[in-house]
Symmetry: C2
Subunit: 287 residues, 2 copies
């Protein structure tokens, strides 16, 4: 398991892509300076980004929850800004899945789905030890599987997406607050509006879980992300119950649903492990 | 393309699995007799069955639309009844996908999803030229991906499944008739109840299409089945529109949605091609 030796966290600028690149570069330099290191000593630089994106060209196609990333060459721009030859850029959920596969809850698993329930909802699909990419590299974007016939507009422009019903950002928005934790607390205190929102989120997650179990039949589903970590009784547990109650019996019996192991640093740890794998010449698969 | 030289069709008995086996055996003998052939001259016997099932052991686990198939050894029982050494049994949708891949609309495609919209809704997922099976062999059972937060009970015991909202059987049931064609005709004539059912079915199919495009990002979706064949404007077309309007742009641009090519005989042609592939030693993949 890699260890994080330097850390620098900043709020993502809402003023456009170039400001985000500048902030990441500054943050990188600050975290290196804090441990008296320089870019020249670094074996690899990896960047965990929101998707959909093109990991080979380092292009972010669209990022529903970030302002300014539309067909934006984040990898090349960041490499330029930092003065390094290459950046290993990939989707945050791909890096988390690689991290969980190499050092977390999916160790040894050759067929699993990683699901993150956080500000947004996303995931990655691993089949026979390989990442499923798909024709447009969006494979694993399970947060944008529509699981309801109507609902609020999602950040992706669609509606009914499990993300738009159950992700932290949307649970908070539906209640008119800026933190989903307040909605779960209000529901626990018996507030009916909060209860309705939480119930709808649980039903949406249940639909996703049943659909994944039936249609992909993974051996393992690993559930991470800040909302899942803080609210397992409203995320992992209703997903488990939905599969037990509603999926095909054989598919339900074949799948384990477990919490992610790398915790809140999964994005960073995943990127470190991903960078190491890429430097070692491993690409669409990993061990 | 194989040619069908003998044919015998019968209504599926509702009186249990043993009666179904007897009917299949009789039907097999009748179709052989009609062309003066015998079982001894047959290179392979293949059986296209409803799923989920275990294609290696020939066991049908559950079949939402058939009475009596619960963990039933259909393959071995049929082999016994016909006096043949082996039956190549697999899910109807797997056989249709193999048929379309070898001789139909998916020729040359290494990554595609086959979708059938018929009495039920099902499918098969092909990745890098291999069938995705999953841990419990239900992979591709996309008809039981829930796409609504509520709805009538599905044959599988769950609710919200795209099958329970858009399959022929359920479209007919929702209107209180026994043939979905009557519902589409009534909707075309302006009947409001029929219009509501048809709209709901289209929305459910749209959700499925968007979810498949985003989360699996296939290069090709092939749409077959009797309802799709008769009602493309209520099936294939709304699926295409939903992907264009609501899926990630890169995923929408990367996927083609086309009608199946093998028509109403896809089950039989698929089984013939599948049997030929298995006899040739090809198993989870095909060319």
């Amino acid at each position: 398991m890699p260890r994080i030796i330097g850390r620098d966290e900043r709020v993502t600028p809402r003023s456009g892509a170039e400001d985000i690149v500048a902030a990441i570069a500054e943050s990188t330099r600050a975290s290196l300076a804090a441990v008296n290191a320089s870019l020249g000593e670094i074996a690899a630089v990896a960047c965990s980004a929101p998707g959909p994106l093109d990991h080979r060209g380092g292009i972010v196609h669209e990022a529903p929850n970030v302002v300014g990333f539309i067909d934006y060459p984040l990898g090349p721009r960041l490499a330029e800004e930092l003065g390094v030859a290459a950046i290993y850029l990939d989707r945050d959920t791909i890096m988390a899945a690689v991290g969980e596969a190499v050092a977390g809850a999916a160790r040894g698993a050759r067929n699993f789905i990683y699901v993150t329930i956080s500000t947004g909802i996303g995931g990655a699909i691993v089949i026979d030890g390989r990442l499923l990419r798909g024709a447009a590299n969006t494979a694993g974007e399970i947060g944008h599987f529509p699981v309801a016939l109507e609902g609020p507009r999602c950040g992706c422009g669609s509606y009914g997406c499990v993300e738009s019903l159950a992700a932290g950002r949307f649970v908070a928005e539906a209640y008119g607050v800026d933190d989903a934790a307040r909605v779960y607390a209000a529901a626990a205190a018996g507030d009916e509006a909060a209860e309705r929102i939480v119930t709808r989120a649980e039903k949406a997650l249940g639909n996703l879980a049943v659909g994944l179990a039936n249609a992909l039949s993974p051996a393992l589903i690993v559930i991470g992300g800040s909302v899942a970590e803080h609210e397992p009784s409203h995320t992992l547990e209703p997903m488990r119950r939905a599969i037990a109650d509603r999926a095909f019996k054989v598919a339900a019996a074949a799948v384990k649903i477990v919490p992610a192991a790398l915790g809140r640093d999964v994005g960073m740890l995943g990127a470190v492990i991903y960078g190491r794998e890429r430097v070692a010449g491993r690409d669409e698969w990993f061990r």
